[in-house]
Symmetry: C2
Subunit: 131 residues, 2 copies
């Protein structure tokens, strides 16, 4: 069901953790609306745990700064988990949290709807991941 704040209550803005939204959808977009966030989330949903370098390659032409930044924000929002293995050289792995996985209900339609504008002739690919 679609929820929109009633007209007469629209002025009393809705508060999310210290931010003001006029609509619940803004709360979601505030978390996944970054330039690379949906790409990152979809990638992790597909591939499971990934390292920095792997994501850099998969998300090319993303820059290291943007990847780090977006990952940090996603982590702060509790959507992904960052694990550091104290090896030499350092090894860092990122994966979705439970909350991150819950986003599939959003990412899925977002992806499906967008595919109609993507003229690709390559056959659809099904990398299985948790149902």
């Amino acid at each position: 069901m679609i929820i929109t704040i009633e007209a007469d209550k629209a002025n009393s803005d809705i508060m999310g953790s210290s931010k003001t939204y006029h609509n619940p959808t803004e709360a979601t977009l505030d978390r996944i609306g970054g330039k690379w966030k949906t790409a990152i989330l979809c990638l992790l949903a597909e591939q499971g745990a990934l390292r920095n370098g792997e994501m850099m390659r998969a998300l090319s032409p993303i820059t290291q700064k943007m990847l780090s930044q977006q990952l940090k924000e996603l982590e702060a929002d509790g959507l992904i988990l960052r694990t550091v293995f104290p090896e030499v050289p350092a090894k860092v792995v990122y994966e979705l949290t439970k909350n991150g996985w819950s986003l599939r209900t959003v990412l899925d339609p977002l992806c499906e709807w967008g595919k109609r504008f993507v003229h690709t002739d390559k056959p659809e690919q099904n990398h299985g991941h948790q149902p």
Copy 2:
């Protein structure tokens, strides 16, 4: 299903009408990612056809400029229909197109997921609209 472009094909970007996306979700966000677009779309989905003034009030504190601009873009993307009634004074009505309605599969989850961050104590409201 979540679709992400494969790593080795990520460089050959996907083309939407004259724009470049790295992921199908970007195509969707490109159309609904404007500051007020989801609010506008949800509002029209709920209320049906609405006039400029009605939307101004419902979306307060939106400005006239932003409303016009976002509506124009949504119309250009074929998501809403603008109808002018040649009366005096002028009367303009906006409503969702078929394509706009198809966005409910996206807006719905977007809204549902976001509600968890919206601490509202008012009971959920069910304005019925087409199933």
